[in-house]
Symmetry: C2
Subunit: 382 residues, 2 copies
């Protein structure tokens, strides 16, 4: 965490730029409050003459589209809005076809771009549409949720859901530019903000213990907004960008980003993706707590670190136990089946992200499925 140590807590930067280093697909993430009003100028400076399809959902468009549109107009950027229904259901074949056909209808060319104004669903959908329209158009991300600003806007994963499973259809398509206006997050509910925050703290837990310490000290400021929030988002993007730069197409270390996700996906599946019961970030929070507790039972992680992680997540209003999910509890069998479907099971061995302590996560490729089942059984009985 050289970045952290170079910045005394009293003098955080108000405007941050994170470079995602991917050879000829490298791009910048601009991060600060009020960026939406400068979006037109920033885009015009980098992509002169570009025309845009602005993809957004009904909820986000109602909140932010007019302001973005004014900024684009002021910079002389021609653009057409493409508004889709809000919610995960839009990340479908029908949603994709709707966006692609609208982009073609607008007569945009390969040198023009699709801009995603919204959270993860809109970003994944619009990015995939950009990837496949005219065999690849430009793509700009303007993430409006904390989760999208620190996770889905870095790394180039785009896609939709298949009736057979989530995110099974898609492409790697890097954006040309990401504009993260941290003030837009003021419109999020506390629950949505906390869920996105689970991915922020994840970067500390993976390999940046200094970042975890900083978050533990500055948690309330990050939730309140302002420069601490900008700083936390910038450091999260840097952390993810470093992993993605090392492993763009997910062959190796990028798996570390799945800390908490194997358990989390199984819990989301158990909750039938009912967001009234569990949203993605909450599943990840419980999953990270489970990964630390399992690591402790295997003698890998100190109990003191487990307690600190649990306390931090709880203080943020995040769940840490399977029983925190409202409604009936899952069976061990149901969870194990979901875990096996999420991962390739080779001779009873699973791949999990485990940890030796805060900031010391590692890829374990030979986790015994029986051990996991016993652990879950104990958890559910507690």
């Amino acid at each position: 965490m050289n970045e952290m140590s170079a910045k005394p807590a009293g003098a955080p930067l108000e405007r941050r730029i994170v470079r995602v280093d991917l050879a000829d697909r490298s791009y910048n993430i601009l991060i600060h409050q009020g960026l939406i009003d400068e979006a037109g100028a920033e885009i015009a400076a980098r992509m002169p003459g570009v025309r845009l399809a602005v993809v957004s959902d009904e909820t986000v468009a109602g909140l932010h589209l007019e302001r973005l549109s004014l900024s684009l107009k002021a910079a002389g950027i021609e653009h057409v809005p493409v508004i889709v229904p809000a919610g995960e259901g839009t990340k479908s074949y029908d949603g994709l076809i709707r966006v692609v056909e609208a982009v073609i209808e607008a007569r945009l060319e390969r040198g023009d771009a699709v801009l995603a104004l919204g959270g993860g669903v809109v970003g994944d959908l619009a990015g995939f549409a950009a990837a496949v329209t005219r065999r690849g158009m430009g793509f700009i991300q303007m993430p409006t949720s904390l989760l999208a600003q620190v996770d889905s806007s870095v790394g180039g994963k785009t896609g939709i859901n298949s009736p057979q499973g989530k995110n099974l259809v898609g492409a790697f398509h890097q954006p040309a530019l990401v504009l993260a206006d941290t003030a837009l997050l003021d419109t999020l509910s506390p629950r949505e903000f906390a869920a996105g925050y689970a991915e922020v703290v994840k970067y500390g837990l993976i390999d940046r213990p200094d970042f975890f310490e900083w978050l533990d000290a500055n948690r309330q400021s990050v939730f309140a907004g302002g420069t601490a929030r900008t700083e936390a988002i910038a450091l999260s993007c840097e952390a993810k960008a470093a992993v993605v730069a090392a492993d763009e197409h997910e062959g190796g270390v990028r798996a570390l980003l799945n800390l908490g996700h194997t358990f989390g996906h199984a819990l989301e599946k158990f909750a039938a993706y009912d967001t009234a019961r569990l949203v993605h970030g909450e599943g990840v929070a419980i999953g990270m707590a489970l990964a630390h507790r399992y690591s402790a039972t295997e003698g890998l992680c100190p109990e003191g670190d487990v307690a600190r992680v649990e306390a931090h997540l709880k203080a943020c209003g995040l769940p840490t136990r399977i029983q925190d999910i409202p409604g009936n509890a899952p069976s061990v069998e149901a969870l194990m089946q979901a875990i096996s479907q999420d991962k390739k099971v080779a001779r009873g061995k699973l791949t999990f992200i485990l940890t030796r302590g805060i900031g010391r996560a590692f890829i374990a490729r030979d986790v015994d499925a029986g051990h996991i089942a016993n652990f879950l059984s104990t958890e559910l009985a507690a």
Copy 2:
């Protein structure tokens, strides 16, 4: 044409391998008679443990699938067939969804592959499905038409049609391997073979005058099959591979491959893509003749070269004039409108591939739309 001069006509090679050089996406095209019976062994040697979805259409599957399947079984390669209806209509959103869902249903992973057994439609569709399933799976081409062997199997263009236009949705996705069995072309009708041959002679006309000379001398042997056919296909693949290696994503010289295609596409559109009237290769043949005649009227191309090109195409049973298309003739206005839609028109200027003679094609970015309209008017009155 160093390749040509190094091979005396009396000693052509029976097995050819063409390398397509694209850094970490490089691949080989194997070309010879009877290759289908060795497909399993060739794939197993290069991709140990791979499982396959074999995409084919009803017509081609009836002719060749059993033989391919036996070869795959002999090599211990697990595979599932995915059979789609024959014809351009399959290159649609519905066709894509059908193939993608079948591949997911078969539980193939990212390291497995989609094999396309068929012509251009199947190759484009299966390749696009491979590009987007699980954000990119392996892809193997087994082209069964001459057009697919010399054109669509080289270069990585995959995709489907939009209701708004052909090939507007797709991706660049390079195959891991192309297996071109030249004996499979014996099942093509003479008209289909001739249409594919239009793309063969195109490579000579672009920048390989020696290849044109060789084709002019060996045309009948190429049509008859055997080693001359293998040689013509290998040289065509080499020619296209050289252009693609220099310009993978179509920013520059790759435009030369469009020789005859701007006129050709306009004629296909005029014929409403009715293959009873005109197939793609026939449109290209007329388009190449038009490009040479227009170049001659502009004083760029010697009349003697125009006459040689026309004579060669006619001898192959290919059309060379707009009037050769059965049914009513198009108006100049209809053709000009189709040409303008195919290309971006900047201030009345069009981009065309013109020529200074056989093997001397070049990209002309400032062709006057009025000159083209006058030329077409004269052609239609002739």
